[in-house]
Amino acid sequence: MTAGITPDAEVIGERGEHLYFALRNPKVVIGLTVVTALLLLGVFGPFFVSADPNEYIGPKSTAPSGEYWLGTTYFGQDVFAQFVHGLRSSYVVGGLGGGIAFVIGLSVGFTAGYRGGIVDELLNMLTNVVLVLPALAVLIVISSYLEVRGVIAQGIIIGLFSWPWVARAVRAQSLTLRNRDYVDLARLTGKRAPQIILKEIMPNMASYLLMTVILLFGGAILFAAMLDFIGLGPTDAVSLGTMMQQSMAWSSLHLGLWWWFVPPGMAITAIVGSLYITNVGLDEVFNPKLREM
C-alpha cells in the first residue's frame, strides 16, 4: 500500500475507511452495480409497461424484437412486462424473507449466546431442529394448503424457515464476545442485557451481520423461485419463478421459445451471484489481511 492512497485514519475514522476500501474494491462495486441496476429495473420498469403483465397484447410466440424486447409468450403476453414485474416480486420476497430470517436468527442467537444455561440449551435445540428440517419440502407442504398465495405471505413463510444458520453463527460469536473485558465493564456500570447486546456486542459483529443479511436475501430469492417453479407461486402476481413454470408448462422447450425461460433464470443468477461476489469483496474490505492492494 503506497502512502498516496492511504486514507488519513484519524480524520476519516473506521467507518470512512471501510467505505473508502469498499468503493475501491472491484468485487463490491461490480456486485452492487448489478444488484442496484436490476432493482431499479424492478422498481421503475413496471410503470413503463402495461399494468397487467398477463395481458394478451401481441402476436403469439414471437422472438425478441424492437417492439417486444424479450419477445412474447405462447399466448402473446409481453415477456419483458412479466420480467420487470417478476423482478419486483423477487426483490420483495428477498427483502421480506431475508429480513424476517435475520431478525429471528439474531434474536435467537444473541439470547442463546448471551444468556447461556438452560435458555441456551433450549434455543440451541430449536435451532438444530429447524436446521435439519428440509426447508423446501416443508415450505411446499405449507404453501400447498394456502389457497390464496401472495408475495408477502411467501416472504413470511420463507423467513420463518431460513434463520437457523444465522442463529448458530451469531450464538457462537456472542459466546466468545460476552466474556471480553469491555462487556464486563459495561455490565459493571449497570447496563442491562439488551443494551449491552445492542451497544457493545453488535457493533463488533457489524461486518459479519451485514454479510449475513446479503446471504439471507439471496437465499430467500432462490427459495421463492423454487416454490414458484413447483406451481406454488403467488396467485395474484407474476414472479420470475412462475415465468419459468409457465414456460415449462406450455412446452417452450420443444417450441424453441428460449426468450421465455432464459431471462428469468438469468436475472436470478445475476442477482444472487452478484450478492455472493459483493460478499467476497466485503470480506476483503473488513478483513485487511485479505486485501489485494
Partner: protein
C-alpha cells in the same frame, strides 16, 4: 463417543417428533377447508354423493374425534406404516406410491451428492495452491452456486435434449419399453438419468470447491502449518495436513447442505419429468392430494435424518477428538 451419539440421536428424535407434529398441524391450522377443496376437485354435482364423499374425507382426516385423539390416532397409524390412501393414485396407499418413486430420487441424489463432494473438494484444494486455477475456478464456482437448480436443469435439457438431441428430456425410461432387467432397459435408464444427474452435480460442485479452497488457505496460514514449515517439512506434507483438517467442516457441511440439495432434486425432477419424489409431489399438489404430499414430506424428513446420522458416523471415524470425548463435532 457415547455422549456424542446420544446427543445426536436425541436431536434427531426430537426433530422427527416435531416434523410429524408439523405435518399433523398444517392441515388443521391452515385457513380454508382442505376437505371442501378436495371435494371441489372431484366436482360431484349430486348433493347426496357429495355429502357421502365429505363424510368419507372427514373420516380419512379423522376430523370426527377431539383434537388430542386425532393426534394420537395419527401417531398410531404412522407407527404402523399407514400414511393413508393416495387420492391421486387411488386406491394405492401413500407408502406404496412413495416407495415406487423413491429409487429414482435416490439414484439422482446419492451419486450427485457424493461425486460433487469429492470432485469439488479436490478442485478446491487444487485451487488453493494454483493462482491460475483459483482465478478461473472461483468466479465459475460462485456462478454455479447462484444458479437456481431448475434453471440450470432447463438449460441442460434445452442444450443436450433439444439443440443437440443427445438426451431425452422427459420421463425415467422410454415409455415404449417395459421395465425388465435387460441391457436395453438399463442403458435406457442411464440415458434418461444422465441430464438430471449432471444438473444436480454441477450446481453443488461450486459450493464445495469454494468452501474447500477457503478452508485450505485458512489451514495453511495456521500455527501448526507455519511450525511444520519452519521445521523444514516438505510442502506436500504440510498441504496434506491442511487438507485433512479442512475435511472436517466439509463433512458437517455435507449434512447441513442436504436439505437444500433435496429441494434442488425435487425441482430438477419436475423439469425432466423424472418419476421421483419431486414429480410425485407436483402431481400431489395438482390433484390436491394432501395425504400423498404429507407422506412425501415425512419420507424426506426421515431420509434427511438418516443421512445426517451417517454423516455423524463418518465424522466420528474421521475426527479422533469425538471418539476420545474431547471437543469437536458440536451438536
Amino acid at each position: 463417543m457415547g455422549r456424542y451419539f446420544r446427543r445426536k440421536l436425541l436431536l434427531y428424535g426430537i426433530t422427527f417428533f416435531i416434523a410429524v407434529t408439523i405435518n399433523f398441524a398444517i392441515p388443521r391450522l391452515m385457513p380454508g377447508d382442505p376437505v371442501s377443496r378436495m371435494l371441489s376437485r372431484h366436482s360431484v354435482a349430486n348433493p347426496e354423493s357429495s355429502q357421502a364423499l365429505r363424510t368419507y374425507f372427514e373420516n380419512l382426516f379423522g376430523f370426527d374425534v377431539p383434537l388430542w385423539q386425532q393426534y394420537l390416532n395419527y401417531w398410531t397409524a404412522l407407527l404402523q406404516g399407514d400414511l393413508g390412501v393416495s387420492i391421486y393414485a387411488f386406491p394405492a396407499s401413500v407408502s406404496s406410491v412413495v416407495m415406487d418413486a423413491l429409487p429414482y430420487t435416490l439414484a439422482l441424489l446419492l451419486p450427485s451428492i457424493i461425486l460433487s463432494w469429492f470432485v469439488g473438494n479436490g478442485l478446491g484444494a487444487m485451487a488453493a495452491r494454483n493462482k491460475w486455477l483459483d482465478n478461473t475456478l472461483l468466479p465459475i464456482g460462485y456462478l454455479f452456486t447462484a444458479v437456481p437448480y431448475m434453471w440450470l436443469a432447463i438449460l441442460l435439457a434445452w442444450l443436450g435434449g433439444i439443440i443437440l438431441g443427445w438426451f431425452p428430456v422427459a420421463a425415467g425410461y422410454s415409455l415404449a419399453l417395459t421395465p425388465t432387467l435387460s441391457w436395453t432397459f438399463v442403458l435406457n435408464l442411464i440415458h434418461h438419468w444422465f441430464l438430471p444427474f449432471l444438473s444436480l452435480f454441477v450446481v453443488a460442485l461450486g459450493g464445495w470447491a469454494i468452501g474447500m479452497r477457503n478452508l485450505v488457505i485458512y489451514e495453511l496460514e495456521s500455527d501448526y502449518s507455519n511450525y511444520l514449515r519452519s521445521l523444514g517439512a516438505p510442502q506436500r506434507l504440510v498441504r496434506r495436513y491442511a487438507f485433512r483438517n479442512a475435511m472436517l467442516p466439509q463433512i458437517s457441511g455435507l449434512a447441513l447442505q442436504l436439505g437444500v440439495v433435496v429441494g434442488g432434486a425435487l425441482v430438477t425432477e419436475v423439469v425432466f419429468a423424472y418419476p421421483g419424489l419431486g414429480s410425485l409431489m407436483l402431481n400431489a399438489i395438482n390433484s390436491q392430494d394432501f395425504f400423498l404430499l404429507q407422506g412425501i414430506l415425512l419420507f424426506i424428513v426421515i431420509g434427511v435424518l438418516v443421512f445426517n446420522f451417517l454423516a455423524d458416523v463418518v465424522y466420528v471415524l474421521v475426527d479422533p477428538r469425538t471418539r476420545l470425548g474431547l471437543e469437536g463435532g458440536q451438536s
